[in-house]
Amino acid sequence: MNIVVLLKQTPDTESVIRIAADGKSIVTEGLKWIINPYDEFALEAGLRLKDKFKGKLTVVSYGPPRVVEALRTALAMGADDAVLIDDPVLKTADYLRVTRALTAAIKELNPDLIFTGSRAIDYDQGQRGAIVAENLGWPHLALAVAVDCDGTTVTIDRPIEGGKVTLESPLPALVTFGGAHAIWNPRYASLPGIMKAKKKPIATKKVSDLGLDPADFQPETARIVITSLEKPTERKPGRIINGDLDVAGKAAELLRCLHEEAKVI
């Protein structure tokens, strides 16, 4: 079984996000970077299958050299190989171009299964998996909170509003992962894993190495751009219910506020 896990490096969930001087990007200095949690869930699910079928798992990512750290973490957790598309043209390319480069890198690996996060916690567009599947002409099963694979078929549970559906597909297929840490419990890298990861290969590629024309990735090819970022308006300081009241008094006063002032209950 040949598994590819697509992952993205994102700022840590605890990061304070500041808008950069250009008004349309964020300040990246001083941020702590992690593997996007949903991609980490995909990686954990992929590693379990690799262990079960004695398969091979390659992680694929894109971005500047700092992304190597995320890939080393994935290798230390148990991935066999890593591919990083590090090409300055991707910095200004829109996500349609980025997914095109990712698709080209994946094709070279000829996988049976592709796992990736259902969304990334930075720009949160949740489109990558479905686009790669469409580019490849593969079925995709989205938002897995449980996954099972017998080597020829993959099955997932997908939560939707007010219920759950179970989806199934023959391989090859792409699966995107939802859920939470409590479901997937991604493993920590072991010390021997970390030592081994130092010797594992990370292939760095430009789009031209993937058989693509850099001219197709120039800024003017973008069909969509972010023109500005803004911070949410600060909430006005609220009111603490009078602490001199007893419990029943506080309960009555809160209800009065919600019923008469806010008119929401």
């Binding site: 605890e14 720009y123 949740g126 179970t166 597909s169 603490i240 419990v247 309960a251 806010a262």
Partner: protein
């Protein structure tokens, strides 16, 4: 046919989902600003009989594909059918719901049609005929505005529960046109479905949410919140600490790696208010915090705060709500 604004309606279990009407209402508003007609695409099993309903929200014409094979959403079947139907309308703008299925459909549809989609949009503006869309990034710690370049076709999925449903002043039944589009053979399939029939309020659609955190101490204590939620018609959520402790299912988790919610009222019970949690509920209209620690960060975001032991406060508050409800009814 002249250009139009095209909305993609979501149909499930015999009815349009409410978010479809929100998207239709927003579509009408934008279509008026652009001087265009509003059309819709509706696919599903049994959708033909209901398609006219979209007229109430300003849709003039609906292309319909009614087929038992489209009963449950599956990317492999729905995307090619919707892509073909949308293409027949030659739209200047495509809108769809940013529901679970809508986000999936939109992503793959965008790739198929080679057009750029922005997901989870909370505001659309139209300036000199150009569309701009605003969407939350970093789970609401920031917002981004996007624009489409040149003649690129804008595709926007609209976050549920944000845009209002507006019935037209002169509601008419929409003109329904059945289209003949083949449903492709899919390799993947829907193996089983399991829909909640207990009438539990869904977190992402709830107007009132009561969430419990680490302060709840154990799983059985959530019965208290369930009781209050039932009285208020609210949904019960949880912080990551509560989910990681195994007290609540992950589907109840509110926060950066859980659900992002925007109810009218969010009542945080025994939740300290870590930045990841605030990212998931910071856009709620009113925030209420109940915590015995007066220094809990949640109080700095709360419209109303109560410093009290939740195990004393919640039963007292529930009793007050019960009294109010009995005098109202």
């Amino acid at each position: 046919m002249a250009k139009c604004v095209c909305m993609i309606a979501e149909f499930r279990s015999g009815n349009f989902r409410r978010v479809s009407f929100e998207v239709a209402s927003e579509g009408r508003r934008v279509a008026d600003a652009l001087g265009l007609e509003l059309c819709a695409v509706a696919v599903g099993s049994g959708v033909a009989a209901k398609a006219g309903e979209l007229g109430r929200y300003g849709v003039r014409k609906v292309l319909v594909k009614d087929d038992p094979a489209l009963e449950h959403y599956l990317a492999e079947t729905h995307v090619p059918v919707v892509a073909e139907m949308v293409s027949r309308l030659d739209p200047a703008l495509i809108l769809l719901p940013a529901s679970v299925d809508g986000k999936d459909l939109g992503s793959r549809l965008g790739a198929k049609l080679r057009v750029a989609l922005v997901q989870d949009v909370i505001q659309i503006v139209c300036e000199d005929g150009k569309i701009k869309a605003k969407w939350p990034i970093f789970a609401g710690k920031c917002f981004a505005w996007s624009e489409w370049v040149g003649d690129a076709l804008p595709v926007i999925s609209c976050r549920p529960n944000v845009m209002s449903c507006r019935e037209s002043d002169e509601p008419v039944s929409a003109q329904v046109e059945m289209v003949d589009v083949p449903v492709p053979q899919a390799r993947s399939r829907v193996k089983a479905t399991d829909f909640d029939t207990t009438g539990k309020v869904e977190l992402s659609e709830a107007e009132i949410i009561i969430s419990g955190g680490r302060g709840m101490k154990e799983a059985s204590n959530y019965a208290m919140l369930e009781e209050l939620a039932k009285l208020l018609g609210a949904a019960v959520g949880a912080s990551r600490a509560a989910v990681d402790s195994g007290w609540r299912p992950h589907s109840d988790q509110v926060g950066q790696t859980g659900k992002v919610v925007n109810p009218e009222v969010y009542i945080a019970v025994g939740i300290s208010g870590a930045i990841q949690h605030l990212a998931g509920m910071g856009s709620s209209k009113y925030i209420v915090a109940i915590n015995k620690d007066p220094d809990a960060p949640i109080f700095s975001k709360a419209d109303y705060g109560v410093v009290e032991d939740l195990f004393k406060f919640i039963p007292a508050f529930t009793e007050e709500v019960r009294k109010l409800k009995s005098t109202c009814s």
